[in-house]
C-alpha cells in the first residue's frame, strides 16, 4: 500500500509544488515559513492517501493547502486578507490540468538547469561533478582534494537546495523583498 501511495505522491502531488508555493505565498507573507507549510500540506495529503487515494490530486492538495493556511492564520491570530480568499480568487484553478502535468524531459532539463545555475558555487561544483560528469563521491574527493566529510556536506546542501529551486518559480517571490 505504502509503495502505491508513494508512486501516486511522486507522480501526482510533487509536480504541484511550484503552484502550491505560489498559492501559499499569497496567503502567508513570511517567506521563511513557506517550505514548512508545504511540508505540512504534503503530510496531510499523504496521510489521507494512505486511507484512500483522492480522485483529483490537484483539487485535493489545494483544499488541504487552504485548510493548512487557515489553521496557521488562526494560530498566529493575525488575519491577512488573502488567507481567507477563495481558491478561485487566488487564480488557482483546481480542475484545469496545470502545465506541470506534462512531464516532459525538455521541461525538466530547463528547470533543472535554471536551478543548477542558482545554486551557490561550492554546492553547484559538487552537484555538477556528480550529476553532469557522473563522478563517484570518491572521485570528487580526489578531484577537489578536500575531506570526504566536506564533500558530503556540500552534496547534502546541494541536493536540498536543488529540490527547492527546482520547485520554485524565480518570478514568484511574493512580497518578501
Amino acid at each position: 500500500m505504502a509503495s502505491r501511495v508513494d508512486d501516486w505522491f511522486v507522480r501526482e502531488v510533487l509536480p504541484l509544488e511550484t503552484s502550491l508555493r505560489k498559492f501559499l505565498r499569497r496567503g502567508w507573507r513570511n517567506e521563511a515559513d513557506i517550505r514548512d507549510l508545504c511540508q505540512d500540506v504534503y503530510v496531510a495529503v499523504y496521510e489521507a492517501a494512505l486511507k484512500e487515494i483522492p480522485v483529483s490530486a490537484r483539487a485535493f492538495t489545494f483544499v488541504v493547502a487552504r485548510n493548512v493556511l487557515a489553521d496557521r492564520v488562526r494560530r498566529a491570530q493575525i488575519v491577512p486578507i488573502e488567507a481567507v480568499a477563495d481558491l478561485e480568487a487566488l487564480g488557482v484553478s483546481v480542475d484545469e490540468p496545470g502545465p506541470e502535468r506534462a512531464a516532459i524531459a525538455r521541461q525538466d532539463l530547463r528547470k533543472l538547469q535554471a536551478a543548477l545555475e542558482r545554486l551557490p558555487q561550492r554546492w553547484q561544483e559538487v552537484v555538477v561533478m556528480r550529476k553532469v560528469q557522473g563522478l563517484s563521491l570518491a572521485e570528487i574527493v580526489t578531484r577537489l582534494g578536500i575531506a570526504e566529510r566536506t564533500v558530503s556536506q556540500h552534496l547534502t546542501s546541494g541536493i536540498t537546495a536543488l529540490a527547492n529551486l527546482f520547485h520554485d518559480d524565480p518570478t514568484d517571490q511574493g512580497e518578501q523583498s
Partner: protein, 319 residues
C-alpha cells in the same frame, strides 16, 4: 533553519550515504526505521529523491560527451557542429542517414523465433536478452560497441565504459547508454525505450521531421514514432511488469482483450482472434505465461462468459 529544512538535510544525508556505496544491511535497517518513523520523513525523502533522480538529465549538459557522440559515424567529416546551447540539443542537427554503412556482412546476427528467448553475454560483461521474434545484429567494428535492433524487443544490461559508449540503433532511432539497464521494444510504427537504471540518451534521427533527443533517467518510458517523441514517467511496479517476459510471463493491468490477444500472438503460432469490437474493449488483469493462451481463453470464458472456438490455426473469441 525551519523544521522542513532540518528534515531535508537528514533526508539528503541518507541519499549521500547510499550513494557512497558502502551500504550494509545495518544501514538499510537504520534507514528503514527512519523512513517509517513519520510520514514527513518519507515525504522529504521521496521529494528529494525525485528531483535528484531527474537531475540525471543534466548529463545532457556534458559538452565533451556530446562531441564524442557526434564524432560517431562514417569516415566523412561532419560540418563543424555549431556550438548550440545544451538546451537546444533538441533541435541540434545530426548528420542524417549515416546508418546505412552499418549493414555489413561482418556483423553477427541473432534471431529468435515465435515464443523463443535468447541471452547474449558479451565479452565486456554486458548482457542482452532477446524476446520473441527479435532480430539483433552485433557490429564487430574495432573499439566500438554498436548493436542494431532490427525488430522485436530486447533488454540491455550494459557495463559502462566512458571511452566506448554502447549504442543501440533501431530504425530511425538510437540509444546511447550512460551506464544502464534498459529495454527497447519496436512495433510496426513506434519504438519504446524504458529505462530501469543509470541513464541513456535517446535520439530520433528522421530526416523528415524535427529531430529529438532526450536523456532518460530511471522510470522514464520514451515512445517515439516517425513524427513525434514523448516521455512519460511510470511507477516502479509498472516498470517491473514490463519485464515479465524475461521470466516467461506477461502482466496485464486494465489491458483490453484486443491488446491482450495481440500480446499473446507475439509469442504463439496459434493466433487469438477477438471477433467482436465490443468485447475487444473488455479489460483484464493478471499475470499469464506467454505461451499458455489457454489461461486467457479460460478467463474470457469463465469470467466474461464468452465463446471460445478452436479452429486449429487460430482461436476465435466471440460472444
Amino acid at each position: 533553519m525551519t523544521r522542513a529544512d532540518e528534515l531535508d538535510t537528514i533526508a539528503a544525508q541518507w541519499i549521500v550515504r547510499r550513494e557512497k556505496g558502502e551500504w550494509s544491511a545495518a544501514d538499510q535497517s537504520e534507514f528503514d526505521t527512519w523512513l517509517a518513523q513519520a510520514p514527513g520523513n518519507r515525504i522529504a525523502w521521496l521529494r528529494l529523491t525525485d528531483v535528484w533522480s531527474r537531475a540525471g538529465r543534466l548529463k545532457a549538459l556534458d559538452q565533451p560527451a556530446r562531441r564524442r557522440f557526434f564524432s560517431f559515424g562514417r569516415g566523412e567529416s561532419f560540418k563543424p557542429l555549431v556550438r548550440v546551447a545544451a538546451l537546444f540539443v533538441l533541435a541540434a542537427a545530426i548528420g542524417a542517414g549515416s546508418y546505412a554503412y552499418l549493414t555489413r556482412s561482418t556483423d553477427t546476427r541473432y534471431a529468435t523465433g515465435i515464443g523463443e528467448r535468447e541471452i547474449i553475454s558479451l565479452a565486456d560483461g554486458s548482457r542482452i536478452e532477446l524476446n520473441t521474434q527479435t532480430v539483433l545484429r552485433l557490429s564487430h567494428e574495432a573499439n566500438k560497441r554498436i548493436v542494431t535492433l532490427e525488430s522485436g524487443q530486447a533488454y540491455f544490461d550494459i557495463k559502462h565504459d566512458t571511452a566506448h559508449p554502447f549504442v543501440v540503433l533501431t530504425g530511425q532511432h538510437r540509444v546511447t547508454d550512460i551506464g544502464t539497464k534498459f529495454e527497447i521494444r519496436t512495433d510496426a510504427n513506434k519504438v519504446q525505450v524504458t529505462l530501469f537504471e543509470g541513464s541513456a540518451q535517446f535520439e530520433s534521427n528522421d530526416t523528415s521531421v524535427t529531430r529529438q533527443n532526450a536523456i532518460l533517467v530511471p522510470g522514464d518510458v520514451a515512445v517515439a514514432t516517425a513524427a513525434s517523441m514523448r516521455i512519460v514517467r511510470r511507477p516502479t511496479q509498472k516498470l517491473m511488469a514490463e519485464l515479465g517476459w524475461r521470466h516467461g510471463v506477461i502482466v496485464f493491468d486494465h489491458t483490453t482483450l484486443a491488446d491482450a490477444a495481440a500480446e499473446f500472438n507475439r509469442y504463439n503460432r496459434k493466433k487469438l482472434i477477438v471477433a467482436d469490437p465490443k468485447i475487444a474493449r473488455l479489460t483484464i488483469g493478471g499475470t499469464f505465461q506467454t505461451t499458455n493462451t489457454q489461461q486467457l481463453t479460460q478467463l474470457a470464458r469463465d469470467i466474461f462468459g464468452l465463446t471460445i472456438e478452436d479452429r486449429g490455426t487460430e482461436i476465435v473469441i466471440s460472444r
